[in-house]
């Protein structure tokens, strides 16, 4: 009598026959596998742009870091804070302190034009004026070439991403800032974060060059602990001397990257979905041709007593396996072609370029594999049902 073990062995047998017969229909099978690999490559590739961009924007945000802007400002570009305000902010409760004073850096943010290495065309590059605490309020900051600029001098250091993406930012070269030319004295890294896309100078020097008086655009602060944020925020927002917006650095960067990641993610899914429709038809075609080529074999097996349910499951497994092979190839291609591919793009919130690397994360690879599995299952379902419904007597006579 037929039982679960028997049913399982039927499925194993029929699946095995199907897989063994693949060389006889290798053209159609290869087209399907390549089609699915293409879908997964595009899906994972496009989403790796968004993942890389998001990572660049958030990696340098420390959990106990906060940023203060003028109320209503959604980016540093449109913010403005006077010296008296930045002092109140630095002295607020919750801000961590060292022997040198509070860990808060009042900063200036301007845009300068520098040509991209890839196109030679000018792009907006952020030039940030910082105070000495700037290194302590961010994580993973490190000079990787040359030296730190000297405070009070017309010197700049350049983020590693900016140095890679834009020309004329090597150590020893000079950049034009207003009427002046400032030497690049060092390159710094920020663990791939957004700061790596920036050029840094002494805030006071930058204020003078841009006639900004003693005004800033933001204050970056490190708090005693992540839990100190609410106390810090409440003290600033309830202070009648101030009219400010307070955010955790992580939230601020996530907000800054939202528009572009949403755009890329939506586009990525749209392109992949359209390609997936094509791939489903490819899989359908392959499995229909598999069923058609094996009509008599399948009918023979059913005549011998193999169940139609086992036929359906076996064909679905075959389709799924082919799709998973395609998915794995696509994921591998995406990883080797896109992972850590460096580029830069406009961050519309700050109107400046962000240098970042595509990130093919394990989560994206899993997502690609899931997509390929779905394509395989949908592509296999209808041919499998057709195979199981074929009248045995008629199918036995198929040539």
């Amino acid at each position: 009598m037929a039982g679960p073990i028997n049913w399982f062995s039927q499925i194993v047998s029929i699946t095995k026959f199907g897989l063994l017969s693949i060389p006889q229909r290798r053209g159609a099978v290869a087209a399907t596998v390549i089609g699915i690999a293409g879908v997964v490559t595009v899906l994972v590739g496009v989403l790796s742009i968004a993942a890389g961009f998001r990572q660049a924007m958030t990696v340098s945000a420390s959990p106990d870091g906060a940023i203060v802007l003028r109320s209503g400002a959604d980016s540093e570009m449109v913010s403005g804070l006077g010296r008296d305000q930045t002092r109140v902010i630095a002295d607020a409760p919750g801000v961590a302190r060292t022997a040198q004073g509070p860990l808060a850096s009042a900063e200036l943010f301007v845009i300068i034009n520098i040509p991209k290495r890839s196109t030679g065309l000018d792009a907006n590059v952020p030039l940030r004026g910082v105070e000495s605490a700037a290194w302590q309020v961010r994580d993973n900051m490190k000079i990787v070439q040359g030296r730190m600029f000297e405070w009070g001098k017309d010197e700049v250091i350049v983020g590693a991403g900016a140095a890679r993406e834009f020309s004329g930012l090597d150590v020893g070269s000079k950049i034009k800032v207003g009427r002046y030319e400032w030497p690049v004295v060092g390159i710094f890294s920020a663990n791939g974060g957004a700061a790596e896309s920036e050029i840094w100078a002494d805030a006071k020097v930058l204020q003078a060059a841009y006639n900004r008086g003693d005004s800033f655009q933001s204050v970056y602060a490190r708090l005693n602990s992540p839990g100190a944020f609410q106390e810090f925020k409440d003290s600033l927002t309830s202070n009648p001397q101030l009219n400010v917006k307070v955010a955790r650095q992580s939230e601020y960067y996530a907000e800054q990257s939202e528009t572009i990641t949403r755009l890329i993610t939506t586009l990525g899914f749209l392109i992949a979905f359209l390609m997936a429709i094509g791939a489903v038809f490819g899989a359908l075609n392959t499995m229909y041709s598999a069923v058609s080529a094996r009509t008599r074999e399948i009918a023979t097996l059913r005549a011998l007593g193999f169940g139609s349910g086992a036929v359906v499951v076996s064909l679905m497994i075959e389709s799924l396996l082919l799709a998973l092979v395609g998915g794995a190839i696509g994921g591998g291609l995406a990883y080797f072609a896109f992972n850590n591919f460096h580029t830069s793009t406009m961050n519309w919130q700050s109107f400046s370029q962000i240098a970042f690397a595509f990130k093919v994360t394990p989560e994206l690879l899993v997502r690609g594999i899931v997509w390929s599995a779905l394509i395989g299952l949908i592509g296999g379902l209808f041919p499998a049902i057709r195979a199981a419904r074929l009248p045995i007597a008629a199918a036995l006579r198929e040539l």
């Binding site: 037929a2 026959f17 074999e297 059913r302 011998l304 007593g305 007597a393 036995l396």
Partner: protein, 235 residues
């Protein structure tokens, strides 16, 4: 096999069977009020012109198709009323099929083809091998066990097909034009084999053929024409 026989000693009882195929709006009456009894141990040849319904009748007896009306009882079980799933299990247990075009799996060796029906049993791998070896020996194909169908002659492929048909020791062996694709010499060898299975091993065989030379090997021949059976050839 006596325990499988129903009353009157008939292993197969086809009663009042009609079969209508629908092609578009047209109804094609292939079998009409047909009666047939096949005792256990008989080698029955079913003859008739093309389109007379021979294979249709064989398919009804083998549980590959269902009659439009009437009943088909094999070994005391009314198979036309079984569900698809039960019928599949019934075929695995009771029927061995031999096809005109052999219907072997091209990706499997002869012995693996013969083993196929045994995959539906709970026999161990070692027991399956014993059965396969015995069936191949019975049809004289042991020396070609490891060969793929494409490397076997037509006669050898049909021997493998017969070995697959008898490997589970089924109640019935149903052969649809088993020599139809073979030359005379290979055809004779297959008929010798079927005759030996019937005479020496007591197999009940129903064979569809249009070849009088083949039907002469059977213990009884019935003729089918216009959906009706007779004991005399149709003029």
């Amino acid at each position: 096999m006596n325990e499988n026989q129903s009353n009157n000693g008939a292993l197969v009882r086809v009663e009042n069977v009609g079969k209508i195929f629908h092609r578009g709006s047209e109804d094609i009456h292939v079998l009409a009020d047909l009666h047939l009894q096949v005792p256990a141990g008989e080698f029955l040849a079913l003859m008739g012109p093309s389109g007379s319904g021979k294979t249709t009748l064989l398919n009804l007896i083998g549980g590959l198709d269902r009659p439009t009306k009437g009943s088909v009882v094999v070994a005391g079980e009314r198979i036309d009323q079984l569900s698809d799933r039960t019928l599949a299990a019934w075929r695995a247990r009771h029927v061995g099929f031999v096809f005109q075009l052999y219907n072997l799996m091209p990706v499997l060796t002869a012995e693996r083809n013969v083993e196929l029906p045994l995959l539906l049993t709970h026999l161990s791998k070692a027991d399956r091998k014993k059965h396969v070896d015995a069936a191949l020996a019975m049809v004289g194909l042991s020396h070609r066990a490891k060969h793929y169908p494409r490397t076997l002659s037509g006669g050898e492929q049909q021997r493998a097909g017969i070995a697959r048909g008898i490997v589970t020791d089924p109640t019935l062996l149903l052969c649809d034009e088993p020599t139809g694709d073979l030359d005379r010499k290979a055809g004779n060898e297959i008929l010798d084999l079927l005759q030996a299975l019937n005479r020496e091993h007591g197999k009940t065989i129903i064979m569809v053929t249009h070849d009088p030379h083949a039907s002469a090997r059977a213990s009884r021949t019935v003729y089918l024409d216009k959906g009706q059976l007779s004991n005399e050839p149709v003029k």
